[in-house]
Symmetry: C2
Subunit: 651 residues, 2 copies
């Protein structure tokens, strides 16, 4: 069945995103390949930072050992295979943006290697195959077996869809069949689930690709069994010797670490390991839509609200504590000790996309945009070869002295012993075209959710071209070519940061119908719609219940959240404040950080006091200026302090 | 030699402190005895809070086993003996305040038990004697043997000085002799030191009591060898099997945890376990004065400045992180995650007292007063039977959800598995008379350092009576009775919180000579000096570099720091703010919390906002009032949130 309004042949033309996608294609993918295939040693760095310093990856070698092409033991994390799979998934998306025959040949070889490593029954986890074959599916709280295979399934589907490589899809189907043969409610199967969710969303994607109902049923099973009684992990752990545990301490982790203290339908607050929570919610939202499960969808929306309205940093980063890489509780958003794992921001975009597909509302695109330009994007350097695992909102050299912030780094690392983040951010950037539109064939609409310049053709031949200089300028021109007899219900998200948005259709001002942050109009002939967004600099105030942000403001302009770096603002970052007299201006600097609009604050203050405690009158203030840069671009120049929330002076 | 200006026969007449000393005598001492002698089980409480919940102490039983009067194994912390010693030291001081023949008989029996438990060579650590005699002095990084004996020496000296019980002193001398026989620079002795300082100050006190030079030499040895190369602990640990370690994880602790990464003379910043740091500095300052070691004294002063001017909470609490119960770094003073161990505040008063004895300056008495009325005093409930180990500056029920604050409790516990704090705060309260005056016979002065009502007679027959209603009222009357031919150089600290202080001598205004916060005059005949202190409510601003306190104020009146408790201020504590329009008043409430002056804030604000992030204009404010109580008295009514630093509203 041809879907008339299906998005096809989408080409991103945004200079901002073309640069990033090109960097992924030309720099990050070759660099990551060198890392996972041990052709280069990562830079030596601190071992205290989140993710840990890496010696050697062995991710490709582990597959070779499992395939019988090399001798040796498994090396690295129990889920080391996924570094290869996420690299492959990045390649899959990137080949559509930047075709590259040599890269495709390499990726085809990797697919063949994975096929060789896969057991005849479809099972694939090199750690278990190589070193502990008798413990397969016996240690699911910690084994990451379904997590690992889930990541392959995502990669295999993407690679098949991008290149037509059928072997890549076959591996995924064999894996899913293996899992279906071992898990489920039937007698004799394991009535359990993986400690780290991922398989849920992978199976839902595999269903989308193959329309094989078995995969959706299995995805639904994993979504629903999580958190039910009797507690699966306690039962399975009780049968195993503690000394065989991959991470013995994890037996003591509370249920909420695994986000399985109760079924999702009864869950009210996001708690525990942030990436586990978000991968699970992404899968649950996808399954809820496919199965039209209202209770499940309501639960995902409840958690969505909790996270985005009570537990998310202004940059979009989530996960407030390094202990368990976890959510903590509502309105607890400390800046100097946050975790904000890059993977968690990537997961937020995936979760938002799934929610949007069920619930036409601007809030989802707002979060996707917040992640794309801020929380997630900060995870990769401008050179494409350095990555943050944890993303601080505030850091200086003293942060190393407090154990609550010693996981944070003022510099991106080249690689990690737990290297989940690098290929997660690159697969997001490479797959950006998936996030620009949503469409609905039944209601004959397309939604331009992300205001990123692109050219697209729909199934019915309608062509749309979006031109803008976002995130730096606020005019968006949308040109429609409508074949005779066709008609388009066009929807566009009005970003929540634009306080005044106006529209012109063919150069005449029009009023659009707006619902839940989404504007609509009907386009029945060739036309140009112009959207003018308010790119004024904004001073963001946090909810008064966020103690860490009290008396502070964050600056934004359009979708970009700003920060102050020491290289522009010398001295102690905490001494800076802005006041009611401060004057703000913005300027595009083409030679700075790949081209960024910076903010200037005149009449800022630099405050000092001799004593530790005294009275307000003893604070000596001098006038100063501040310069702010986009948060995503920090830590690409000299090493120094950085902070997002800036103190407001009392005068 | 009679010291003419020596303080003797001091009687505290302050109603505030009489109540506390009576509570220690009548409630806390009997209660603590029941705990350490297992006559009563502690209340069952959370196990996550600092200090840990206790099942049974066995502290007295351990001594009985070591004395051969009972069979069994050692139970409890490796330094469990010190719970008995600090109880005994509390009793020693308390018997001077409130003579009690039955209590003295019990304490005499405890002294006899300790003598029986002591090995013939003077050694005493029940854990090693009972369970690991072959490891005596072999695990000094973790063994706490000198720490334990140090605590006994302090107790033995105090009990001897209070009651004349010579056996108590003999035990202490035998211990010190045992240590001198085993440690020192001579060949064949251990060239090392204890992981937990304490012995340094104990030996200095023993020298003060006995004038036996050997003890001072040994104290000086321990002060100076700490932090020298080669690293003693690594060398000793290398000889031992890790499995025998009392706390195996501690081998991995950094040198700064033990405050021995370099000799004190080269140390610049307080780092590591706060109580270790402060016990060591107290001993070092004492030794520096006794040996007139200028370099050592300069080092203690440098660290004093670092702690009090860059690492101390406004309440006087110190130790910013639960990880290692430790200092972190300058200006890092997070409120919601602080540690502020009660023992560390007690240690600060001891350190300040030693500094004052070498350096006549008001800053030391200011800190002693800050601890006495705030940081230390908060460690004990008004009923004398509940204690804080860690003291939060800000807490609510959500604190349990963030691992960085889960060590904090909204309620004092009755006892701890590590019960170091209860008898530490009670020995401080019972020994208060030691902190009121300093004197110098050579310069013929006495310094009234703590403005606490008292009556005292000096060695030369001069009598001084101090009358005031501090901390609630600001008039201090000091009556002098001067025998014919005598003369007194009288000094008094002017508290740093009193912005305007005036003096009258025999009802005529006078100007006093003031140096470093200390006023002086000569009194040659009977006279009355009246001191009028400014008890206005003060709004304290923290140094701008203290990120956690930015845009916030703390309230104080006289020496008292205030806080807001939920029982008086319903709703979410973070929603409260004060503004420039807020009106302050104070009122003494005799029936509240044992009688306290409370602060009323009219025209305070309660702020709410629907969104997590928005603009200032979206914050909805309503007028409210706040009521503040002294910080030391919090957590004595209904359980609820508490905070010290209160947000300033922008308008």
């Amino acid at each position: 069945m041809v879907e008339n309004f299906k998005i096809r042949q989408l080409k991103i033309t945004s200079p901002f995103w073309q640069r990033y996608q090109k960097m992924v294609a030309q720099k990050a993918i070759p660099f990551q390949w060198k890392m996972i295939s041990d052709q280069e040693k990562p830079e030596v760095t601190s071992t205290t930072v989140a993710g840990g310093a890496s010696d050697t990856s062995s991710a490709i070698n582990n597959l070779k050992i499992a395939a019988g092409k090399l001798k040796g033991h498994h090396h690295g994390m129990i889920f080391q295979d996924t570094d290869v799979y996420k690299w492959l998934e990045t390649v899959a998306y990137s080949l559509k943006n930047y075709p590259d025959e040599k890269l495709k040949q390499l990726a085809d070889q990797v697919v063949d290697l994975i096929a060789d490593a896969q057991a005849p029954d479809g099972y694939l986890s090199t750690r278990y195959q190589i070193d502990t074959p008798n413990l397969k599916f016996q240690q699911l709280q910690q084994s990451h077996e379904l997590y690992s295979m889930g990541h392959y399934i995502e990669a295999g589907v993407a690679y098949y869809q991008s290149t037509g490589n059928k072997a890549a899809l076959t591996i995924a189907e064999k894996m899913a069949d293996c899992i279906a043969n071992n898990f489920g409610q039937e007698n004799g199967k394991i009535h359990g689930y993986d400690g780290h969710p991922e398989i849920e969303m992978a199976l839902a994607k595999l269903y989308d690709c193959t329309q094989n109902k078995k995969y959706l049923t299995l995805a639904d099973y994993f979504v629903k069994i999580r958190g039910t009684e009797p507690d699966f992990f306690s039962q399975q752990n009780a049968k195993n010797d503690l000394k065989d545990d991959p991470f013995p301490d994890m037996r003591q982790a509370k249920d909420n670490y695994f986000f399985d203290d109760r079924p999702l339908k009864d869950e009210k607050m996001a708690q525990g390991h942030a990436v586990r929570v978000l991968y699970y919610l992404t899968g649950a939202a996808h399954v809820a839509r496919l199965t039209n499960d209202k209770e499940l969808l309501a639960a995902t929306k409840r958690l969505w609200q909790d996270i985005t309205q009570r537990q998310m940093y202004v940059t979009g980063n989530v996960g407030q504590t390094a202990v368990g890489e976890a959510f903590t509780c509502d309105y607890d958003l400390p800046n100097r000790t946050d975790y904000g794992e890059t993977c968690a921001s990537v997961a937020m975009t995936m979760f938002a996309k799934q929610m949007l597909a069920s619930d036409l509302s601007g809030q989802y695109g707002d979060v996707i945009e917040r992640e794309l330009y801020n929380g997630a994007l900060a995870g990769i350097s401008l050179d494409g070869e350095h990555y943050f695992y944890a993303n601080p909102l505030e850091i200086d050299e003293n942060s190393q002295f407090n154990p609550a912030s010693s996981h944070l780094s003022m510099r991106r690392l080249s690689w990690f012993s737990c290297a989940c983040c690098p290929a997660n951010i690159t697969r997001l950037i490479a797959s950006l075209s998936k996030y620009i539109y949503d469409y609905n064939d039944k209601d004959k609409y397309i939604l331009l959710d992300q205001l990123i310049s692109n050219q697209v053709e729909l199934g019915n031949g309608i062509k749309v071209e979006v031109k803008s200089d976002l995130p730096w300028q606020g005019t968006v021109k949308i040109h429609f070519s409508i074949p005779a007899g066709e008609e388009l219900n066009f929807k566009v998200r009005i970003p929540s940061w634009s306080e005044q948005t106006s529209f012109k259709l063919n150069n005449h001002e029009i009023k659009m119908a707006i619902t839940d942050g989404i504007a609509s109009c009907t386009i029945a002939e060739d036309a140009e719609l112009e959207m003018n967004l308010d790119l004024s600099v904004r001073q963001i105030t946090a909810n008064p219940l966020v103690v860490a942000d009290q008396g502070k403001v964050a600056f934004s302009r359009g979708p970009i959240i700003y920060c102050a770096e020491e290289v522009d603002n010398p001295g102690n970052y905490a001494a800076y404040s802005i006041s009611n007299n401060s004057k703000l201006s913005s300027e595009f600097e083409s030679n700075l950080l790949g081209g960024v609009t910076t903010l200037q604050v005149d009449n800022a203050q630099y405050s000092e006091m001799d004593k530790l405690y005294s009275k307000q009158a003893d604070v000596k203030k001098q006038k100063t200026t501040m310069k702010l840069i986009p948060y995503y671009a920090w830590a690409n120049r000299e090493k120094g302090s950085m902070h997002v929330w800036i103190r407001q002076s009392e005068d």
